[in-house]
Symmetry: C2
Subunit: 203 residues, 2 copies
């Protein structure tokens, strides 16, 4: 590191703080930025600053947004009766990419995790109740992860939300598409078996 002038050392140090980027890669990136036209480097720096400054949480779904209400929540073409509850904004992005859902979202902000001291009060459960009480939602889809924490959060929510006259559903779990049965873990296989669907041909 001391082979470089201070300006380069500082850049290498900042860049190598990013996840998955070691000192070698940071060095390579810094050298690239040095060779790059000045306006491109400035654009990179500016986009990092704006990323922090301009990204908000949507006040309806608590997903990532650059306006008070995000483009999904303000899209009247989406099914306002379906509300999909996810853990994090990134999960919302994954579901959007899949194109499998045309309703609205609600970001819980995490999962229940007694080990880490995260209880119901730390998640947006009250906000979710308020949202339901607005009266437009007909079905809640619990799309938390299928981890221990995600499952127990879904169980907790289904218990808490049963006082509302709503359909409650949970995303299916089972063998992932492209999965080879002999490499799938036993818990997943048991789930896949329990959750088997009738495909009897009816004529």
């Amino acid at each position: 590191m001391h082979y470089y002038p201070r300006s380069i050392r500082n850049a290498i140090r900042s860049i190598s703080r990013l996840p998955g980027i070691g000192e070698k890669t940071a060095e390579r990136l810094a050298m690239h930025i040095l060779r790059t036209p000045r306006d491109e480097a400035e654009q990179l720096a500016r986009s990092i600053l704006e990323l922090k400054a301009k990204t908000l949480l949507c006040r309806r779904c608590f997903g990532l947004s650059d306006a008070p209400v995000c483009s999904i929540c303000s899209n009247t073409g989406r099914d306002q009766r379906l509300l999909c509850v996810v853990e994090q904004p990134a999960d919302m992005v994954s579901l959007e990419k899949s194109g499998a859902f045309n309703g609205l979202y609600f970001v819980l902000g995490g999962t229940l995790s007694p080990m880490d001291g995260i209880g119901p009060g730390d998640l947006r459960i009250r906000e979710l109740a308020t949202r339901i009480e607005e009266g437009k939602v007909r079905e809640i889809i619990l799309a938390t992860s299928t981890t221990v924490e995600g499952e127990s959060t879904a169980a907790y929510l289904s218990d808490t939300l049963k006082r509302y006259p709503l359909k409650l559903s949970r995303i299916a779990s089972g063998v992932p598409i492209g999965g080879d049965l002999k490499y799938v873990d036993q818990v997943t296989l048991r789930r896949a078996m329990e959750g088997r669907r009738d495909i009897t041909q009816r004529s």
Copy 2:
């Protein structure tokens, strides 16, 4: 990409322009920066700007520096009689890391490459001559790469510089340390054979 608000899209686009960073990684890095404390993100952005603004070329060796003369050129503890000619500032860093050299450097700024239209006038050959004419240098070590271009640049330089009363040397080429002979290419093996050194025990 359109799943993200514009501020995040811009950051992903800028980050994914870096070499070896695809859109997936850029997405992951952008999400990390979003979660990171504000001052850390600002430090990253600032270090990128300073990298461009504060890094200069040393006016003695043309290596990277943040002062008019770099720390190597201004270090009187180094052997002022040895001048190692390299292609790029990065080569200088590699040699420094190896700890194998305690003299001074001179960065040529590339290699001769008629295919790309790079001739002697595009390299710092006149500057090198001026440096030699100062009279302190006793030995020039040609440490250009062992590529076709690097070799021909070294050949051109040895021809051009023979008018000076100097020792001229070329870094050794051969089998790299840790190299398994059966995987070493034939040109390297031929070089290693030609360049063999006498290790006869003398008593």
